[in-house]
Structures are given as structure tokens and as C-alpha cells.
Amino acid sequence: MRLLFYIARRIAWLFFVIFIVVTITFILSHVVPSNPALIWAGPHATKQEIEKAIKELGLDKPLIVQYLIYWKNFLTGNWGVSIHTRRPVIEDIKTYLPATMELAFFAMFVGTTLGVLLGLISGVKYNSVIDHVCRIVSLEFIAVPMFWLGIMLQLVLAYKLHLLPLTGRYDPELAAATGFHTITGFVLLDSLLEGNIPMFIDALKHILLPGLTLATGPFAIVLRVTRASVLEVLGRDYVRHALSYGLPRKVIMFKYVLRNALSPILTVIGLEFGYVLSGNFVVEEVFEWPGLGRYVFESILNSDYPAILGSVTVIAIIYVIVNLIVDIVYALVNPKVRY
């Protein structure tokens, strides 16, 4: 019962944050620029187009009415037309979002799995060689700019050594030869489900460099938080009590230490998802990954405001939803929240 109440409260919170996001984008598109119609219609619009935009946006009406119209447009998917692709923004987002999500999920999965594992080892074997190595590596991963790391990996592994593909998401010739069609937009998933193994391997090779580049951030932060949390839990009475009963190492490590160390780790995983989503904006450009980040990059070059604001809104909402899921998982592992 309390779990349901908790989830209901988190969902209410989700809507509040979406409300704030939409309000911010409204302020950005209607209040900050001197002439919002120019932004809506694009920099090269004719006089008629601008007048049409003024009407469409209701810019002749009071601000509060404009705000309500903005909401109506937001809810009906009328997010304006992209200047550089000349398509509705929401259509563009549908096209580019899956690639971004595939990359982000891949990076999160690799980064958090390795981070939790090495953080646990670092914490349990504190002050050992592996602990010091992990600490220094994580400090450096936090300090390295992601786009630069991507370029360096590209330069060495792809450009000089030819070990991995330089850019792109998959080899289009291979896709044509094996008759590959994506259904969900997730190439790795689709090729695996279709049993198209050569395509799966090709996609894996393509995602490896951008994926690992993006994974460095969550890896480093999750490792540090896991280590600190594990150290904290190791000093607790129940760990000592379990040790006094000589329970197997594995049981103590996972059931007694990691399970109790999990709360801050989950929180930081949720936060790191935001880091990965913003990292997409630069990493996709470096690896010419056909996702939303690259779309925003192009939009910035073209001052394509509807595209930028639409994409930013979607990314922010995805981030909030992911954190809602994290909050629910948090309640599931923590009986004190659940009951």
C-alpha cells in the first residue's frame, strides 16, 4: 500500500518537472528572444511566413494565453517545423531518438556494471594496489573531456591502427546485402532478434568506441560512490555479525554489503544518465552517430530553435522518466521505503 502511495507521489513529481521543463522552454522561446515569431519561422523567413507565425503562435494575445496555446501545441505534438530539415520537429525526433537511446543505454550498462563491480572490489580491498589504481583511473576519467577522449580513441584505434570503424552506426552495404531492416530503431536489438549475426557484430563494432567513450563518466562516478558506500557499510554491526558467523565471502559481499550499499549507487546511476544524455551531444558529433545529439549540433549551427527546444524537452523528459524508474527500484531494494 505504501509502495503504491510512494509511486503515485513520484509520478506526480514527474508531471511537476515536465511542467517546469515546458515552462522553461516557453520562456526561452517566447520571452527571451526579441521576436519569437522570427525564431518560430526561422531566420530566412519571408514577411508572410512571419505574419503567419505570429498568428499561429497567438503572439498578438496576452502572455498567459500564449502560454496556454504553447501547452496545447506541446500536448498535441505540434512542436514546429525544423528549419534545416524542413520536417516537423516531432517527426525528426522520432527518427533520431532510437540511435541516441541505444548508445546511451549501452554506455550506461557498460559503465555501471564495471563501476559497481570494481567499486565493490576497491571498497573491500581498500588501500590495496587495485584500490589505488581504481582511484587514480576514476579521477582521470572524470577529468577527461568526453569529446576529446572520443577523438583520441578514434585517432589511435580507428584512424591509425584500423581496429574499429571510424564513424557511423553500421555498414550500409552490409545492411543491404543481408536485407536488414530496423523495426524498433535499436540496431543491436533488431539484428539479434532477426538472427542476423554479421549485422549484430558490425553494429557492435560501431558502437564500441562511442559507447566506451560515453561509459567513462558513469564508470568513474559509480565506482567512486560504490567504494565509499561499501566502506561505510563494511563498518556496520550487521557485517561484523555476519563475519562472526563465518558466512561465505560471496554471501557477505553481495547480500550483506552490496545490498545495503545500493541506495546511493542507484541515486548516482540516475544522475549519471543525465550526464550520458548530455555527453551524447558531443560524442555523436565526433563519431557521426545518427542520433538526436548530432541533430541538435546541426540545429545549433543553423540557429534552428524549434528543433533545439523540442529535442531538449524530449531529452529532459526521458531523463526524468529514467529517474522515476530508479526511484521505484530504490523502493524495491529498501524495505524501509516499501512498508
Partner: protein, 318 residues
């Protein structure tokens, strides 16, 4: 003898000093008794309890000595061999039951961990034995309480569960580290009665660590009094309480209010126990002792046996 400790020393090596938490302890625990270890906080009694199963956290270390459990020297065993003793033949009853249970795992599952991993039982067999032991420690409706998380049970109930856990593997020796300190006074008596029954009915051996002379009088058969990392007096509980020898033991007994005895004058203990990193020369108790002689300041007294059961570490009895 179930446990024989010889010349045990446990030191904590800090950056700029050495804390001698246990210094030259010799002790014999016979089978089938409640053996009390009494002392103020910081006297090293909890360290002793953890040293027996070799759970001294760094930077602490057993520096020398041996701990014979029957004929096994626990100090010399490998970690793997030791884990066959821990939770099988020696079990612990914790000081604070509320913080000694994993808050994210149901009580029953934590008991199951011991039954499954230490006794190699199947889930079904284990569950049966657990219910049996929970009934033994008079846990009300054990089937329901097994399914609860630690924060849903009271301290007294959790301590019963902890005692049930300590009984699960049918151990030879149970170490209870201040088992009632964290509990309400009303529950203390029931828990102590339970511990007493372990010895009387189940023929177990219990080492009971406490700072409370009242608990000792009610529960123990034999006691050892610790001061500043050493044993200052040991013997049968009746002899010790009726005729305490060491001035420190006397002071501890005087601190317990009793209705059946008229005390002519209170003998309050002055001063603080010494810091274990800066132990006074000579007898460790002499700065607080009313009867201190010149020799007490110069030389440390030996632990001298007066008969086969009674020993005291004081220059007054040499």
C-alpha cells in the same frame, strides 16, 4: 576446559601510538558454565570477545599468545579453518540486536543463511529447525515474525532471534557481548534468564561480557574482572561477591545498590580508567587505589593464584 587463553596480547597500531587493548591475558573457561567478564567500557573486554574468533578490525592485531578451543589453537588456524569454527562451534550474541541484523533482509532469511551455508541444510529442513529454535527462545508467533524485516521488530524480539541464531548450529561455546546493554530494563531480565537457561537446560557454555555487577550476580557461575586490558581478579561468583579481594572489584560491587545489605559508607571510585595508549607504570590501578603502597607505583603485580580457582593481581595479596 573448553577455552584456554595464554598470554594473549592485542594491540592497535595507530599512526602515532600503540593502544594495548589486551595485554598478557591468561584465562581458562570450564565447560557448562556462564563465565562473566566484567569491566568498565574501554577495559578491553569487547576486544577480548572479538579476539577469540579473530575478528579484530585493522589497525588492530593479535600480537602474541594462543587461544586453545578444546585442543585447537585458534590463533594459528587459517582463515578457512577458522570459518569452520565460527558460526558452527562458536557463535555470538551481539551487543545491539537492532543494528546487528541486515536491515534489507527478512529475519527468517538471515537465520536461513546460517542454517543453509553453515549447516548445509536444505531450505525445508532449515526452516523447520529455525521455527524450533525460535520457539525455544520463546519468540511469539515465530512463523509470522520470521517474515518481518528487522525494523518491524522490537529490540527484545530481535535479541531473541539473535539467540535463536546463536543456537542454530548447536555450538559448544556462545559469546554474548553485553547482550542487554541496548535493551529496555524490563526486557533485560527475560533475556538474561534465557541465557541462564542455555547453560542449565542445554548444557552450553556461555561467555557473558558485561559492565554490570548486578547482571553478573544473577547470571554467572564464574567471573573475571578486567581493568585496563588485564585481568585483575577471577574466581567463583559466590566467593568474589561475598569476599572481593582486589580494590577495583570491591569498588565495582559497592557501586551496585542492594536492598538486603546496609552499607556503612559508599566507596565511590575516583578518577578515570587510564588511556590504553598511555598505561601507568607499576600497577595499572594504583592512581585510583586508596590502598596503594610504594611498590604499586614501581612494579606491576603478577596474577597470583590463591587456590586452584581464585586469582588476584594485587600487591596486597603477595
Amino acid at each position: 576446559m573448553i577455552l584456554k587463553i595464554c598470554d594473549l596480547r592485542v594491540y592497535y597500531f595507530l599512526r602515532d601510538k600503540v593502544v594495548r587493548a589486551i595485554d598478557k591475558i591468561d584465562l581458562e573457561v570450564p565447560e557448562g558454565v556462564v563465565f562473566g567478564i566484567v569491566g568498565e567500557s574501554g577495559s578491553g573486554k569487547s576486544t577480548l570477545a572479538h579476539a577469540i574468533i579473530r575478528l579484530i578490525p585493522p589497525p588492530g592485531r593479535i600480537v602474541s599468545g594462543s587461544i586453545f578451543f578444546r585442543d585447537l589453537d585458534l590463533v594459528k588456524l587459517s582463515e578457512k579453518e577458522l570459518n569452520k569454527i565460527r558460526g558452527n562451534r562458536i557463535t555470538m550474541i551481539p551487543q545491539d540486536p537492532i543494528s546487528s541484523f541486515n536491515p534489507t533482509v527478512r529475519i527468517g532469511d538471515q537465520l536461513l543463511d546460517v542454517a543453509i551455508h553453515k549447516l548445509g541444510l536444505s531450505r525445508r529442513e532449515a526452516a523447520k529447525i529455525i521455527i524450533e529454535k525460535l520457539k525455544l527462545v520463546r519468540m511469539p508467533s515465530p512463523e509470522i515474525n520470521m517474515r518481518k524485516y528487522p525494523h518491524e521488530l522490537s529490540g527484545g524480539m530481535l535479541q531473541r532471534a539473535a539467540i535463536a541464531m546463536a543456537l542454530l548450529p548447536d555450538p559448544d561455546l556462545i559469546i554474548a557481548d553485553e547482550p542487554t546493554t541496548a535493551l529496555d530494563v524490563t526486557i533485560q531480565a527475560a533475556i538474561l534468564k534465557l541465557i541462564r537457561d542455555l547453560v542449565d537446560d542445554l548444557k552450553k557454555t556461555v561467555i557473558l561480557i558485561t559492565h554490570n555487577m548486578g547482571i553478573v550476580a544473577e547470571t554467572c557461575d564464574k567471573i573475571a574482572v578486567m581493568y585496563a586490558g588485564q585481568i585483575v581478579e577471577l574466581g567463583d561468583v559466590y566467593d568474589m561477591l561475598s569476599e572481593p579481594l582486589h580494590p577495583y572489584t570491591r569498588a565495582l560491587i559497592m557501586a551496585v545498590p542492594r536492598a538486603d545489605r546496609e552499607i556503612e559508607r559508599l566507596e565511590p571510585l575516583v578518577g578515570e580508567p587510564p588511556s590504553l595508549s598511555d598505561i601507568p607504570r607499576g600497577c595499572r590501578f594504583h592512581p585510583r587505589c586508596r590502598l596503594a603502597k610504594p611498590i604499586c607505583k614501581r612494579e606491576e603485580p603478577p596474577l597470583r593464584y590463591l587456590d586452584s580457582k581464585r586469582a588476584v593481581r594485587c600487591w596486597l595479596y603477595v
